[in-house]
């Protein structure tokens, strides 16, 4: 493993004590980054779930009216809905079914037709269709005056908005973590450059290319970052599991369990690689810049 990214043959950076703190700091950074990613992806899954409820399933309610022919109204509404593009299916919910839903509240032997129970129609929206629900509602009310499209929109809209803001926050935190990591790495490399300036000068004068010197630095530091990232990531994953365990043991919790999905898992696993690459690039720029000051 130590040899994995190549050793710094002449600079012997491995013997530096001053850069040993770097993996610890990177570890903490990765821990925070992993939690942010966990939040980010879990939320985006939750948001898409909410959005689905928002558009996937609607109910049309036809108000009870003892004087009107409710059955006809239902048939009219179903016809209209079925003909609407973007609607996959519209199905009238049988009155028995409705009563069954209401049974706990009304008792078993409630007589049909005597109760002011609205008629319900279940509407399933086709996937990926952008349907204008407000327009549909208007059309519906024109055709069948007592009908009303039940949209849970306002409430869910707010949830989605909240979720998106938190996502934005998590993305901002990620950005911050990235910046801080870069700054820390820059300081560490600068220290290394100063400590090894003699050796660097000699290598330079013997005919080493900038690249040769930069590689020793970038390999060493990206190895430190990578090795530092692993424990941070592992601890973050454990913390997320514990969180989920606590959430699931708390039965009627408002909090959804964290579930990052495949993309989130890939992002988490890529995290150490990304940090290593970020470190490598940063180190390279810093070293090359400092070497360019020499003739």
């Amino acid at each position: 493993m130590i040899q994995f990214f190549g050793k710094s043959a002449e600079l012997q950076l491995e013997k530096d004590v001053s850069t040993r703190y770097l993996p610890v700091v990177i570890s903490a950074m990765i821990f925070l980054a992993a939690l942010s990613i966990g939040g980010l992806f879990s939320l985006s899954k939750a948001i898409s779930d909410w959005s689905e409820t928002l558009t996937g399933n609607l109910t049309v309610e036809i108000a009870f009216d003892p004087t009107a022919d409710l059955d006809k109204k239902v048939t009219d509404a179903v016809e209209l809905l079925s003909a609407t593009p973007g609607v996959a299916a519209a199905r009238a919910i049988e009155q028995e079914e409705t009563l069954k839903l209401l049974e706990p509240f009304l008792g078993k032997n409630a007589a049909l037709g005597e109760l002011p129970v609205p008629r319900l129609i279940e509407v399933i929206i086709a996937e990926d269709s952008a349907i204008d629900l407000a327009a549909l509602n208007k059309k519906l009310v024109e055709a069948v005056p007592a009908a009303r499209l039940d949209i849970h929109r306002p409430w869910l809209d707010k949830m989605v908005l909240l979720g998106r803001s938190i996502q934005l926050l998590a993305a901002g935190i990620m950005l911050l973590i990235g910046c801080v990591t870069v700054i820390i790495v820059i300081f560490a490399v600068r220290t290394g450059l100063i400590m090894h300036s003699e050796v660097i000068q000699v290598l330079h004068l013997i005919g080493a290319r900038d690249n040769y010197i930069a590689e020793q630095f970038q390999n060493y530091f990206s190895r430190l970052s990578f090795l530092g990232a692993l424990p941070g990531l592992i601890v973050a994953i454990i913390v997320m599991f514990i969180f989920n365990f606590l959430v699931s043991s708390l039965e009627a919790s408002m909090l959804p369990p964290l579930s990052v999905g495949i993309e989130g898992a890939i992002a988490l696993l890529l995290l150490p690689v990304l940090v290593a690459l970020l470190t490598k690039y940063t180190v390279r720029q810093v070293v090359l810049k400092s070497l360019r000051r020499m003739m």
């Binding site: 002449e10 012997q12 003699e198 000068q201 013997i206 005919g207 040769y212 360019r292």
Partner: protein
């Protein structure tokens, strides 16, 4: 091979430590550079070693004007120049063997070819038993010999030595001067800075005398102004 035209040099914003230096070294020549301490000998050699830039004037090395070179061309050029620094500049954490092998490694030679060659050279300069020693454990003269071995290991076309025999007894000093002379015979251009007048008179090579940053005695074998193409 080497041509200086009105070269001046200063460190940072300090005074000029070299002024109006003009000379011309033919390929295969062997010069001594001498003068009182602080005259600017080491500074002149730094210009030759491509470690500092002149503050004015033109330096031509291997038929190329140095200030016109791209950064990427410099390492290849430095590999044609061997330098023995007054303060040795060895890498303390590497063994004598690895120190001497470094120029070959940087030039991309294969490991198995390197070490045989390096060990032979170290044997020759009398360090056969110190191949694995690190510089901090070596005496001044031993370090100097490692530095010389490192400078000559890849048969440079230009060899620059700053007081190469200052830290050792006369006998060892002579032995190393003969090594430089051997290299000179196979075509290396050599410049040796030294205070040792006895050494200079013994070898009888042309002498450049530097005083207060001015070159007072020019290289004696100054060629006709229009030089034919360097073979190097």
């Amino acid at each position: 091979m080497v041509r200086f035209e009105n070269v001046g040099m200063r460190y940072g914003l300090g005074p000029e430590v070299l002024r109006d230096i003009s000379f011309n070294l033919l390929p295969g020549s062997f010069h001594f550079l001498t003068g009182p301490t602080g005259a600017g000998k080491s500074s002149l050699l730094k210009l030759l070693a491509l470690s500092h830039r002149p503050s004015r004037g033109l330096i031509t090395l291997f038929n190329k004007e140095v200030s016109s070179l791209a950064r990427d061309d410099l390492p290849a050029m430095r590999r044609k120049i061997g330098v023995v620094y007054q303060d040795f500049r060895l890498l303390d954490h590497l063994s004598a063997l690895d120190n001497v092998a470094l120029p070959l490694k940087l030039a991309g030679a294969k490991n198995d070819q390197i070490y045989q060659h390096v060990a032979e050279l170290l044997e020759w300069v009398g360090l056969g038993r110190q191949v694995d020693a690190k510089p901090p454990t070596l005496s001044g003269g031993e370090k100097q010999r490692v530095a010389i071995a490192r400078a000559v290991i890849n048969r440079p076309q230009l060899l620059i030595a700053d007081e190469p025999t200052g830290s050792m007894d006369a006998e060892m000093g002579l032995r190393l001067m003969y090594l430089l002379q051997e290299l000179n015979k196979i075509g290396t251009t050599v410049v040796v800075a030294t205070h040792d007048l006895e050494l200079i008179s013994r070898f009888g090579n042309p002498v450049m005398y530097l005083k207060d940053g001015l070159l007072t005695t020019r290289a004696q074998d100054n060629p006709p102004p229009k030089e034919s193409k360097d073979p190097a």
